[in-house]
């Protein structure tokens, strides 16, 4: 298989990690694309939940936002925002939280708040949204973001959502019910927390990617697994479904009311 982009590989690698039948709390953007790809390939019974209150959303195009009408159209149920966060997320019903990030550190803590100082930021980002409690209460968290040195940083400018906190058992001390991030999927490879230290280590690179390339784009001294794998390249089906989804989404977006 040839002729796919690193972004396509990232979405496909992330989609593969979603087991069929799980309840997935989906962030907008990259996570939403991956989750919807999974639902269209190997995980048709995966139940997608968006923070706007849609339970079992079945969008036929990717939503531009977490409250698009396509999410409510054929959902199993639509509830209020407090219900989604309290009865579904905080109650521990969510198997997988799918999150993006602007910055991430070696313990998979996330920043989506500011670049620079909080009071006088260089870049003011949108902020926390649903992420802190998804990171806290989903049974497991999968993070998807592009692998850039400015994103994979030694020290976060702001800790918006807790991953493995300061490593080791420090997350457990915060009283969160979920296990935290189990995987970080990028356009270069896949990272997982080490058993004891909970520090992220590179466990797979995507086809054609060198470990040095990944180190280059990581702002700390990246741990690499002794048993480093290479991700299986996208199948024809995966690529076909992903591209069709993007095409339909783009068409719907252009159409709209305008």
């Amino acid at each position: 298989m040839s002729g796919y982009t690193p972004d396509e590989m990232m979405s496909i690698a992330a989609a593969r990690e979603l087991r069929d039948g799980v309840l997935c709390f989906v962030g907008i953007g990259l996570p939403s694309e991956a989750a919807n790809l999974a639902r269209r390939t190997h995980a048709p019974e995966c139940m997608l939940i968006y923070e706007s209150g849609t339970l079992g959303a079945k969008p036929d195009v990717l939503p531009l936002s977490i409250g698009d009408g396509v999410l409510a159209e054929r959902a199993d149920s639509v509830v209020s925002v407090p219900e989604i966060f309290n009865y579904w997320l905080q109650a521990g019903r969510i198997d997988v939280g799918f999150l993006g990030a602007a910055q991430i550190d070696r313990y998979a803590n996330i920043n989506t708040t500011v670049i620079g100082d909080y009071q006088k930021p260089k870049v003011r980002l949108p902020g926390a949204g649903g992420a802190p409690e998804i990171a806290a209460s989903a049974k497991e968290v999968i993070i998807i973001l592009r692998h850039k040195r400015r994103a994979f940083v030694e020290n976060l400018d702001f800790l918006t959502s807790v991953g493995h906190y300061k490593g080791g058992k420090s997350r457990e001390g915060l009283g969160y019910t979920g296990a935290g991030p189990t995987m970080v999927i990028t356009d270069l490879g896949i990272l997982r927390p080490r058993e004891e230290s909970r520090e992220l280590e590179l466990v797979a690179v995507h086809p054609g990617v060198e470990v040095d390339q990944v180190r280059e784009q990581t702002g700390w001294d990246l741990a690499v697994s002794d048993d480093l794998k290479t991700t299986a390249p996208p199948t024809e089906e995966e690529l076909g479904v992903l591209r069709e989804l993007r095409r339909k989404t783009e068409a719907a977006r252009k159409e709209g009311a305008g």
Partner: protein, 286 residues
């Protein structure tokens, strides 16, 4: 129904300088028309409250109406930054903007506490994050039965909440269907409530996932067809995603933003005229 009034009158009467105002909506049913009317009436020193400040908050902030923002996610959904919001935070233009920042779960529960007449809400969150460091309104609280330490957040009780809904009936009850977000709690936690609606009907039909806010919880109902544009009103018209992308360009530059606002918001007398001025009058006939 004596609550039925014009949007101009409702805003003039119910929104005051210095008020804490929540114009809520979760992508769906954003009260754009009401935000424009607030800008046209030059309401000032507002504390703006909202989980997901988007284009209308960008407009209110860029026009200098806001002194403070209470929020949990401020962006142009699916597009990127809110440039006027960023300019206010990063450069203090047109005036500095004080921030009170929470997570969605925190904001949602603050509205629930406000609607419940309680001074605070409890949730499992915030711990280990930098939010409590920069946000004064978070405090630890211990379960008297299990000893578990959780987090408390204070109730939100806006002076005014504004929402957009699909329908009101002749008695003044309000029907919302599709995604209803935090609108019920935002309305029930407020001292005064303005609802703009697509239309006033004799009686509601049953609709999927419909909620009805009783008349007694509403102070003013204003019929404004298309009043949520460029957002959508489930059953009436779709979201104009293209406009959200267009806004990125309009709002990026201070002058272009001011020019657009002067021409399309300040320079018109009503939302109907606004829609005509941007050639979107078709949403009124949806």
């Amino acid at each position: 129904m004596d609550k039925l009034t014009s949007l101009r009158e409702a805003v003039a009467k119910l929104v005051r300088d210095g008020d804490a105002v929540a114009l809520e909506g979760f992508t769906h049913l954003i009260p754009t028309a009401a935000a424009h009317e607030i800008i046209r009436q030059r309401k000032g020193d507002l504390t703006l409250i909202r989980m997901t400040p988007d284009l209308i908050y960008d407009q209110l902030i860029g026009m200098g109406c806001a002194k403070k923002l209470v929020f949990s996610w401020g962006g142009n959904p699916g597009v990127g930054s809110l440039h006027r919001f960023r300019d206010a935070v990063e450069n203090g233009w047109p005036r500095p903007l004080e921030l009170e920042e929470h997570s969605h779960a925190g904001m949602a529960n603050r509205y629930v506490a406000g609607a419940s007449g309680l001074p605070f809400a409890v949730l499992r969150g915030y711990k280990g994050t930098d939010l409590p460091r920069v946000t004064g309104t978070v405090a630890p609280i211990k379960c008297p039965f299990t000893g578990e330490e959780l987090m408390a957040v204070p109730a939100l009780n806006p002076d005014v909440t504004v929402i957009h809904a699909q329908q009101a009936d002749r008695r003044g009850n309000v029907a919302i269907w599709g995604i209803s977000g935090i609108q019920k709690e935002a309305a029930l936690s407020a001292r005064r409530v303005i609802v703009t609606v697509e239309e006033v009907v004799e009686e509601f039909e049953p609709r999927p996932f419909q909620i009805v806010l009783p008349a007694v919880a509403v102070d003013a109902i204003c019929e404004v067809p298309g009043g949520a544009y460029p957002s959508y009103a489930h059953g009436y018209y779709e979201r104009d995603n293209a406009f959200y992308e267009e806004w990125d360009g309009i709002s990026r530059d201070r002058e272009r933003f001011r020019g657009w606002m002067e021409r399309h918001v300040l320079g018109v007398e009503s939302f109907e005229e606004h829609l005509r001025s941007i050639r979107k009058e078709e949403v009124m006939k949806a």
